[in-house]
Amino acid sequence: MTTTNSVLRPRRSPLLTGVMVLYLLYTLVPLAWLLISATKTQPDLLSTSGLEFGSTFALFDNIGGTFTHDHGIFLRWLGNTLLYVVVGAGGATVLATAAGYGLAKYRFRGRRAVFAVLLGAIAIPGTALAVPTFLMFSNLGLTNTPWAIIIPSLVSPFGLYLVWTYATEAVPDELLEAARIDGAGEIRIFLTVTLRLLLPGVVTVALFAVVSTWNNYFLPLIMLSEPDWYPLTVGLNQWSAQATGAGAQPIYHLVITGSVITIIPLVIAFLLLQRFWQSGLTAGSVKQ
């Protein structure tokens, strides 16, 4: 018997490899379609098949067109999305980290109640709350302002739950006690000791929050009627909807190029933070 079938060097399975290749194609073909389509002019888009290049290579024209169409509103949408992501997802990460750590490491009355509310909050889809949230914000006079997007984005029950479980595992009580004995205050312990230990979990939460805020569609669709405050998702949908009905003016080439530009920052974020993402996902999977 050879030693190829060990835990460290598992046997290769042609079947599993085949399944993985299929899955890879399944994932990459739409992306390839998107990238190829972004190089086509609007007429080419309609007259050539999806996975072949058109007669002219118009990627740079399309990028220029995307940024200048309708007085450069795309740039404004990009800025809005960045604002919502930095303030909304950033705030959600800070709040989830602080609250998750607090709930994991401090004993106080009402902890269980918080836990129950939290689980309930995770179970309710955001879409179901869209209309009540809209009416509430409308009474406060906040609809059609960036606050209508930022405030709901600040709360991430799932992120809180993730930090909570992560902190329970990753931050030893002994370490906190040692720090306290050395005379460190609670804030200082949080900032200098805990935060470092929590980093993989925090990055995971940040990624989740960034992705969900970046892709947030339904809430801004309901809340905003002024295109100047749209994020990219709602803006691109508005461009896409121009192709419908009387007076239709399809600009699919700009919608597609805009979509490519929209996903680039997310792809970069994933590639850079991949290792945190992976270690965060497996947090707590092995009992030490």
Partner: protein
């Protein structure tokens, strides 16, 4: 997110907000305006002179140019133009703003099919109080009928969509197919074309509520009648059956393409001959010219086929008006803007953007009617289209919750299209769903 899922979510939202809007209307007494208010235009003229600021929501391609022209003419009025979304998105936001009591525009674009929903929930201003009923003679009968709900006037018509047969002449000539004058000939043409070239279809239809209701309209059906809170739905009558008995043949023999409308694939199919005809509104030439460049020189226009080949009868498809919202702080100024848009200098930029008007004077002007269209190989298409405007079957009305009805059309009748099954049972399902919904919303629906 897939479009189906999104439209379903939007449908839920629409349903939820409409429910509250209607219940508010039934418990309050100020829900509906006194039907058929009358007055003079003095208040409107005074408001225009005084100036002010209004907000206008629209997604029409000419809106921006119209607002610019208006502000040039009246520098003391500031119009905030907002494109709040196209179609359903726009209505969702409008409905939400109405529900919230603020945040809506002063003037909103509303399609004819959506008007009863907003009018009957008491959200719109009866323009009769500003003496606008006097404009009746300026508009085609069918568009004027579309802006009158329950005797009150809720807008001035902007565009119209009298229907015609748009066909790909190149494909027809290639296969020796004559232009159909009756629906029987149309079905025969569909069979001949698909037999000669299986990649080609007479048209595409995956179950479009707007098209289906227009076809019922032409067949003489009046499936939706509303009187106050009483709604009658009859999708099993002779008129509807006249249409389904024709369209069943196309659907069941799979002679219509399943390419969904308004998608990139659809635009492509219009250019390369895959879809050989479109029976649709008079606004279609503008769409073909700007978006189906490959079709230049191939397309032609003929009158809409009829059932008996006799007197020409048509229907309207699409079209919209501008309405003044009750929550407007300056309704007289908003009404002045509507008057300028659709009964004044606003019509010119609208025509320049390729719009098809609702005003008789513009439809009858030789400059409009006899203008040859280079895209259509020099054909004077407006002669066919303006003739159609005068042949619309009178007396049609939409449901007071037509937007919701249209969103569930695919869930019920769409299945018949998908399975190449008979349309009548599917329409019965639609009727049942509409009756149930209407009763839940506080209407008394006859025809469940």
């Amino acid at each position: 997110m897939s479009p189906t899922r999104r439209s379903r979510q939007v449908a839920v939202i629409l349903a939820a907000t409409l429910a509250t809007a209607l219940s508010a209307c039934s418990t309050g007494d100020g829900g509906t305006a006194p039907a058929g208010a009358t007055g003079t235009q003095d208040a409107v003229d005074a408001a225009l002179k005084a100036g002010g600021e209004i907000t206008y929501w629209s997604w029409t391609p000419s809106a921006k140019a119209q607002v610019d022209a208006f502000q040039q003419e009246f520098p003391n009025v500031k119009v905030n133009y907002v494109n709040a979304g196209t179609g359903t998105d726009h209505y969702t936001k409008l409905q939400n703003a109405i529900k919230a009591g603020s945040g809506g525009p002063d003037v909103a674009q509303v399609e004819y099919q959506a008007l009863p929903q907003f009018a009957l929930t008491g959200s719109l201003v009866d323009l009769g109080q500003y003496g606008f009923n006097g404009f009746e003679k300026d508009y085609t009968a069918s568009t004027w009928n579309a802006v009158k709900v329950g005797g009150a006037l809720y807008g001035l018509p902007q565009d119209s969509g009298p229907m015609a047969l748009f066909y790909n002449k190149q494909v027809f000539d290639q296969h020796g197919i004559a232009v159909p004058k009756t629906w029987a000939e149309y079905v025969a043409a569909a069979e001949k074309l698909h037999a000669a070239d299986p990649t080609k279809f007479i048209t595409s239809d995956t179950g479009d509520a707007g098209f289906a209701t227009s076809m019922m309209w032409q067949a003489g059906a009046k499936p939706f009648t509303t009187d106050g809170k009483n709604v009658k739905i009859d999708l099993q009558g002779d008129g509807v059956k006249k249409w389904t008995s024709t369209w069943d043949q196309l659907v069941q023999k799979k002679l219509v393409s399943s390419i969904p409308g308004w998608t990139d694939a659809w635009y492509k199919a219009l250019g390369d001959g895959t879809i050989a005809t479109l029976v649709t509104g008079a606004w279609m030439p503008g769409v073909l010219e700007s978006s189906v460049k490959d079709g230049a020189g191939k397309w032609a226009v003929a009158p809409m086929p009829t059932y008996d080949g006799g007197k020409p009868v048509t229907a309207e498809n699409g079209g919209s008006t501008q309405s003044v919202l009750k929550q407007s702080a300056n309704p007289a100024l908003a009404a002045a803007f509507v008057r300028w848009l659709n009964n004044g200098n606003g019509i010119k930029p609208f025509l320049e953007s390729g719009g098809f008007p609702a005003t008789k004077a513009d439809l009858d002007s030789p400059a409009f009617k006899d203008k040859p269209s280079p895209y259509f190989g020099g054909q004077q298409i407006n002669q066919v289209l303006t003739a159609s405007a005068g042949q619309v079957v009178p007396g049609w009305s939409y449901l007071p919750y037509q937007l919701y009805a249209n969103t569930i059309f695919r869930d019920t009748v769409g299945k018949a299209y998908d399975n190449a099954a008979a349309l009548d049972p599917a329409l019965a399902d639609w009727q049942k769903a509409l009756a149930d919904y209407g009763n839940q919303q506080g209407f008394t629906v006859n025809g469940g």
